[in-house]
């Protein structure tokens, strides 16, 4: 194995294994990736219907990361928990500083034990098999963002340079469309992705990309949906944003007629590029 290949292999192993997940952290509350289409929808839940690519890196599926925009209540609870953790740690931080600078609250590692709002969506559980697998997720109603791509439990690549979001209403199946994700430093066999970004980039970690082909009224749907209410997702252009917890940054691939980029900044093409 060459030095370069060894280097890449070590990085891959670290990325898959990390970050170590605290045992007390919770899974994404209210998010269930269904394996069968329900006979009826829960009136207090929203549903996401999408088809996904099935690319892997080694044995591991490349997965989408979705984020639900937190409610003000959730954010306040998070900030309060973080402040409480800092207050509890402050005496020790002060002692350990030995008269020097005491770490600020922004420098305190903090793992929030509350409900998660960022979660993975992979091809493992599906309602219909095929080249693209059809997924149906039961989720809390709210606004969702195509946040990035990962291989395991740590966000690898964020769509920090531009992405889309959409609202998922209670009691309705929101049909997102076809989502693709793959490594994009070189050639990807998947369509729609911005790939061939640079072979050398892969020496330092995974370089993932994501693309969405939005649903339309004529998009294929599983026959089992029957008369359940389904509506195409209404996309909103979002970003840019920062995510210092991702090892890499990228953007959702341009979506003809919807998402474009001008001098690197996301624009809504439906609004004449002005957002």
């Amino acid at each position: 194995m060459s030095g370069r290949a060894l280097h890449a292999a070590v990085l891959a192993a670290l990325a898959i294994a990390a970050p170590a997940r605290p045992a007390a952290a919770k899974d994404a509350e209210g998010v269930v990736q269904l394996t069968a289409i329900p006979a009826a929808l829960r009136p207090d839940a929203a549903y996401l219907l999408l088809r996904t690519s099935r690319a892997k890196s080694g044995l591991f599926a490349i997965q989408h990361v979705l984020l639900r925009v937190p409610s003000p209540t959730e954010t306040v609870a998070y900030l309060a928990a973080r402040q409480a953790a800092y207050d509890a740690a402050l005496p020790k931080l002060t002692r350990d500083a030995k008269g020097g600078a005491v770490p600020t609250i922004d420098e305190l590692p903090f793992d929030h034990r509350g409900p998660a709002n960022a979660f993975t969506v992979g091809p493992g559980k599906f309602v219909e098999d095929g080249g693209l697998r059809t997924l149906l997720l039961e989720v809390p109603p709210g606004r969702y963002v195509l946040y990035g791509v990962t291989l395991s439990r740590g966000l690898v690549t964020c769509n920090c340079l531009g992405t889309v979001g959409f609202d998922a209403r209670a009691g309705v199946v929101t049909q997102l469309g076809d989502l693709y994700a793959d490594k994009v430093h070189g050639d990807s066999p998947l369509p729609h992705l911005e790939d061939r970004l640079g072979e050398h980039m892969a020496q330092y970690g995974f370089v993932f990309g994501q693309a969405l082909v939005p649903a339309t009224a004529g998009s294929p749907r599983p026959a089992g949906l029957g008369a359940l209410p389904v509506e195409p997702a209404r996309l909103a252009v979002m970003g840019p944003f920062r995510e210092p917890g991702a090892s890499g940054i990228n953007r959702l691939a341009p979506i003809p007629g919807v998402l474009g980029y001008v001098r690197g900044r996301p624009v809504d093409l439906r609004a004449g590029g002005s957002r």
Binding site: L14, A20, N117, L155, G248
Partner: protein
């Protein structure tokens, strides 16, 4: 105010532009030697024909804002998304995420890896804005990448908006 403008302002708060004539930069008028050309994927500067110093300065400031590294974003996990372009509140890296073996490996590769990860971020951000990379000697690369942030941005912006490079663009 459009969201994009809000985000742009938050990402790049107003700041007086330095006077380009007062900024000393490495002389890149001559072609680099073979070694620097070979290592151009590691040691490079950005350039874009017809960009202005002010535009390059803004682009570099916005893109370099992605360089700070925080603690890993765990999935599933909580992201304090604000939607206004600012960072989610996230503690900086400092805990040991990889265990002791990982720490030992990490300490060996941290230098090149950190440079590479920063390079990947800057490439993706700047290349989508139309910039290309051009090789530069390692010592010159260090002079425009190590030191006080405002000075680095000013130096790189001057090179990015300066005369057309003598070398071919780095493509690998």
């Amino acid at each position: 105010m459009p969201l994009a403008l809000v985000a742009a302002l938050l990402l790049a708060p107003a700041q007086a532009l330095p006077e380009p004539a007062t900024i000393a930069v490495p002389d890149v008028r001559a072609a680099v030697d073979a070694k620097a050309r070979e290592q151009g994927y590691k040691f490079y500067y950005f350039h874009k024909t017809s960009t202005t110093f002010a535009e390059a300065h803004q682009d570099l400031r916005e893109c370099r804002a992605y360089l700070p590294v925080g603690g890993p974003a765990q999935v599933p996990g909580f992201v304090a998304w604000s939607g206004d372009g600012t960072s989610p509140r996230r503690s900086p890296a400092g805990g040991q995420a990889y265990g002791l073996v990982g720490a030992a490996i990490g300490s060996i590769i941290a230098g090149p890896m950190e440079r590479g990860l920063r390079s990947n971020k800057m490439r993706r951000c700047m290349e989508t804005r139309g910039y290309a990379r051009y090789p530069i000697a390692e010592a010159d690369w260090k002079s425009i990448n190590e030191g006080e942030e405002d000075r680095l941005v000013a130096m790189q912006a001057k090179l990015a908006s300066g005369p057309a490079p003598a070398d071919a663009a780095v493509v690998k």
